[in-house]
Symmetry: C2
Subunit: 205 residues, 2 copies
Amino acid sequence: MSQTPSSVPASRGPADHNVRDQIVEAAGEHFSHYGYEKTTVSDLAKAIGFSKAYIYKFFDSKQAIGEAICAKTLSAIVAAVEEAVAGATTPTEKFRRMFKTLVSTGVSLFFNDRKLYDIAAYSAGEGWPSARAYCERIRQILTEIVREGRESGEFERKTPLDETVHAIDLVMQPYVNPLLLQYNLDVAEEAPAQLSNLVLRSLAP
Amino acid sequence: MSQTPSSVPASRGPADHNVRDQIVEAAGEHFSHYGYEKTTVSDLAKAIGFSKAYIYKFFDSKQAIGEAICAKTLSAIVAAVEEAVAGATTPTEKFRRMFKTLVSTGVSLFFNDRKLYDIAAYSAGEGWPSARAYCERIRQILTEIVREGRESGEFERKTPLDETVHAIDLVMQPYVNPLLLQYNLDVAEEAPAQLSNLVLRSLAP
DNA sequence: TGGGTGACTAAAGGCCATAATAGTCACTCG
DNA sequence: CGAGTGACTATTATGGCCTTTAGTCACCCA
């Protein structure tokens, strides 16, 4: 086994190539407009003026293209979260903003770019690497915040760090994971604040 | 409007009637065996030796029968939870058992009576009264536990009771709600313990 | 009079032939 | 030799037709 078993589904060809970017760009627009299912690989080929076969020099499958788009979409959420966190001073505030931004960005994606949201949800449901990486990244940010809070004495230090982070991660999961968020839209407005309070109480020294 | 707008979808005829019970019993078996979709109202009629039309003297619709079964199924979960809670002494322990029993009973239903589980999940997704009542009942039990914990000084009393309960309810929701639980099966083993710890830390005086 | 039903309808669901699509490969041409 | 493709196949969607099913209603009969 010379290739990673379950990670990136292998995009072939040169990783950095003009045509590759064109494909991704076209896919971004088409998927967003017409959805993943309704967009054919031929559509993308036509859009960039090449044949369908050529697309497969760069991507292993249509799904691999979907994942690229999905990764891009989720990256945008992460970026929004990072920005929000950077704008806060205390770990407490960072956590609040993280949670709030995560949910509001997700909800906004749901209502404003539903087609892309659906890809993200599907990706989460199928455990695509893009979705896994996203969850992992969120967890990293969370870990950093908790660690900082512990160092500054703002958060308790008795519970093992991993356990604390994991539990908080479980609390956020229904709002982080696009697959789950869509079932929690009715409480998405209030949940971040309510749950932040609860979590922060649990973190009190 | 002489009837309740969104609550019980009206079962007609005498509420207490032998035939009604027969219908429910037959439905329980058929739905569990073949599923809600694959069971026809005629099947149920045949099973109890009456005509299909007669069934509609007792139930407004096939869905109403589904709801009766769903309510029964969810009641069993509630009963298991109540029993588990009754067997504990401290509010802390009651909460732990409540959460754990809730999840394990739900998971067990998923694996051992999938067809009934699917009805419950559907019911939760559609907001049927049976599912609503179930969630409401769980919340009541939770409220009772928190209140008791506060009175005994085991839990903090600063946060408004409603707020505390509501936040904990949000934490449990992904495992209480059958529609959501099915997406969280992979963590259903560990989640109750981890989240109970977190919640109880947040409840510390 | 009230427990019980056959016959009916509109709508939903299954079925199957056909069309569309993902993905491959041998090939071209500069 | 490498950027790029037409033509091909196996699989999956689609759409129209026909069957099944939920639900009603006028009616029966003890």
